[in-house]
Symmetry: D2
Subunit: 165 residues, 4 copies
């Protein structure tokens, strides 16, 4: 993970979900405004998501949820669609004890890549993104994200939020 | 893993598979007679199978296949049946680059536990078993199997095979 | 690691070193004022320092040195003194390829615990501390420090530094 | 680790130790005849010995000692001699909780490489060797030794011992 120099970027694209797990109702980045959002894009049959990305997302959730940060999983299926439907994902979430809200990215219609994944330009899974409390996209990374670097960006964004609050 | 003192046990129960992956045709323990067989029972949505059991089975396959030992995977689905059908398993095997033959255990009919799993009395997944070159069940273990202990049992059975050959 | 709620604490105690490795001359926290300082207290024969603490200190050094943060190792020998002299430490630093400056904590005189370790009240090794750009002690932790939590504190202190700069 | 095809080799060279730790008196391979001997050559300041070799030797000791196998450590200092004397090694053995007998290889006199290390032709540390119950050297390996392969060789030699017993 080579995090780009933190830079003010544009507004984070909204999530377009076909369904949600682990939440009473649909979430939106707009509704989460005021919190830092850690977005983790994964596929349940992606080995690096299972071995690294999802455990990291769970660790971020355990450590920072309720302290001004929300973790949102995004199931961005772009291959093996038949094997990763909602029933399979529900079993997966149960077995891997994932506790954070998970959006099922809306199928793209004219191609294998789903809508939200395209909006963010994620090149594959796992990918992560950080959205600040004002709704700006501040970091986007494809591949294994280093804990120290990710933590540093989270610490920075949480302090920005405090200062503005 | 506490391997029991190696003891001559009875004949290993035959595999009853609904289908096979990674092999030109169905295999049987009877047909593998003369080789040591390492049997790995797993479910594709079982976290300990993914993190430990399957990498170990792949390592055993890479190290010992063609030296008198055959690795056979056994997909023993006893929960979340709808999420772990053959199409899902095929995608999983592709993504995790599993190279050894895999039997899909035959559904049990009158309960969730499939036929071969019941024959072996496996208490869950991951489970492993070793069958010697004469077809006798020599080791059966539920849970994480230690590499040193498993290796020692394999080394012993391979030497027994050589001596009888 | 349970990091305390970030709180403004008092001034960080100065380092009192008998000797330094990996630096042209002695360093002081006073001289490092203006940078965030990550202080890692270790002993070369402490297993958790070798397996976790020192690799973490090296990772912090690689990632953040030159970006407003300085890593300083502190060899706080409080047991097996004869086995951990400067000659042994020099060989250790060479073999483990440690690149950051390392202070050899000054022997305490009237007890086994050296001077700087006593000033900080470290309960053992590994211990870590973070000093902000104004010289205030902002975090002190005994034991394994979590990368995400440590990263978050570093990110926070680096932003404070930027805002004041 | 690519273990060579197990082959009957010559007699294992005897250990020449300047001193012993973790044992009431000196040991010899001759005195251990009848047991399989796992010999682990290490240096206390060798990173791969600390992270991999010694934990593996401890695991072999815990699993197989008393079942016809003896683990013997061999401290083969060939660099940084002043930093790895018997006092330093004693502290190291205490901190890392090593339980098996450890021979301090006798200094070579006319070069940095000690006597037993030269007899075995070890190219560095960590190195491992296996001696069968008849005193023959059956395996010698420089570098990280794979648990499955090492276990297989141990299992083989233990069965040979049983058959001859």
């Amino acid at each position: 993970m080579n995090l780009p120099t933190p830079a003010r970027s544009g507004p984070a694209p909204e999530i377009d979900a076909a369904a949600w797990l682990n939440t009473a109702g649909p979430l939106t980045l707009h509704g989460l405004r005021g919190q830092v959002v850690f977005l983790h894009a994964f596929q349940m049959l992606c080995p690096a998501c299972v071995s690294h990305g999802l455990p990291q997302a769970s660790a971020v959730h355990e450590r920072f949820a309720g302290q001004g940060l929300a973790v949102v999983g995004l199931h961005t299926v772009f291959e093996h669609h038949a094997a990763m439907g909602i029933e399979a994902l529900t079993a997966f979430v149960h077995e891997y004890r994932l506790r954070f809200p998970i959006a099922i990215d809306r199928p793209g219609g004219d191609g294998p890549v789903p809508v939200t994944m395209r909006r963010y330009g994620f090149r594959g899974t796992p990918s992560v993104a950080l959205v600040d409390h004002r709704g700006l996209l501040r970091m986007s990374h494809f591949g294994r994200a280093d804990d120290l670097a990710l933590g540093a960006m989270i610490g920075r964004l949480l302090l920005e939020r405090e200062r503005d609050g």
